[in-house]
Symmetry: C2
Subunit: 222 residues, 2 copies
């Protein structure tokens, strides 16, 4: 019975996610679903990306949190359109929340839309939102066993950003073993080592992101 | 409709949690529900506690993970009874999982039972398991804004262990503001600053834990 209900929810979610994708495509908006544990660095990554790209690319942000609008306020200071979703108790964003958010954003003024999901490594991976790419921000202090414990997340994403590598000298974290574990679950995943504090690796992330956007725009022209 | 289903699940869960509590009480087992984000240090805390107390207190552990038995294997090496629950996709433990686990543990040989919940700051707080105390392990690299973003968790726990304080010199983390934010949500919460790496603060945690157990034993005698 419970499982049946969940299946219905997931089925409906997929349909709305597809509608979101069509809406994004029609408006030429490239959307990225950013996921992670609490405090792994999603907002810092988005902030760093906005700071470096806002001269070239029109960026918008949807912020997902159980409660509070802390992140939306931080990002709003950068002068980009931002919308906060408070899920109440839900531990993940769902496609219908994004559908409502999209109708409240100036899509014609956005080329790149970040959707910052709720801090959670489990359920966020299960719910499609309609975004074009999925990004996992993984934080080194969390330890190198996470791919084994949260395999669905690592399986579903297009890129893993190993964040807070500036802390590596103070941690027991085998980055080679960690990268191999990710590849074992998801051969196609891109992996970048970054630090939003020192700026290390951010160029590679931006270069990957801009390539994906070029690919998206070329598809649109056809 | 969805909400109704959730209410039914939660209602049934509460009942089973109470049954768990009775079973624990009858057997004189003091149970602690340990919660945190992924990789905040639940297993390290339990390991450290076992190492220091296993000569005095008979300890058992229930390990909750979406998948893998990594933590159960680590803890099993300490020679204490340990049982792994794999939730499949569920992002939290529920009382019925604990009920089944309890019937597979030698309760007469356990005085202190750790229940390590799934790494998640949201749903784990919603589901009672029947434990006597709830502990949150909070990791400094996650940032000092967590009480505002995950208020239910901070509201529900008896003690917050601020872990990885050895990393503070490398982080932007205002520990005074953080502690005040916790007290604002949960005035009664005990707060200890610890490091499972350096051992700092572990004595205070153990002293609190042993006090709680003494209190429990005195209640039992009546």
């Amino acid at each position: 019975m419970e499982i049946k209900v969940l299946k219905d929810i997931l089925g409906a979610n997929e349909q709305i996610a597809e509608r979101n994708r069509q809406l994004l495509d029609t408006n030429g908006v490239f959307a990225v679903n950013v996921m992670s544990s609490p405090g792994a660095g999603k907002t810092s990554l988005i902030m760093e990306t906005i700071k470096r790209l806002k001269g070239e690319i029109k960026i918008g942000v949807i912020e997902g949190d159980v409660s509070s609008s802390i992140d939306a306020e931080i990002i709003g200071k950068e002068g980009v359109p931002v919308l906060q979703i408070n899920t109440g108790g839900e531990c993940h964003l769902e496609a219908n929340m994004i559908y409502r958010a999209l109708s409240n954003l100036p899509l014609q003024d956005i080329e790149l839309l970040f959707i910052e999901n709720v801090g959670n490594l489990i359920c966020t991976a299960e719910f499609a939102l309609g975004a074009h790419r999925k990004v996992l921000v993984s934080s080194t202090p969390e330890g190198d066993d996470k791919p084994f414990k949260y395999p669905l997340m690592f399986h579903k994403v297009d890129v893993v950003l190993i964040n807070k590598i500036d802390l590596l000298p103070h941690l027991k974290f085998d980055i080679q073993a960690y990268s191999q574990a990710i590849k074992g679950i998801n051969e196609k995943a891109e992996i970048f080592q970054i630090s939003c504090t020192t700026g290390q690796g951010i160029d590679q992330w931006l270069s990957w992101l801009q390539n994906q956007m070029r690919f998206f725009k070329n598809l649109q022209k056809r």
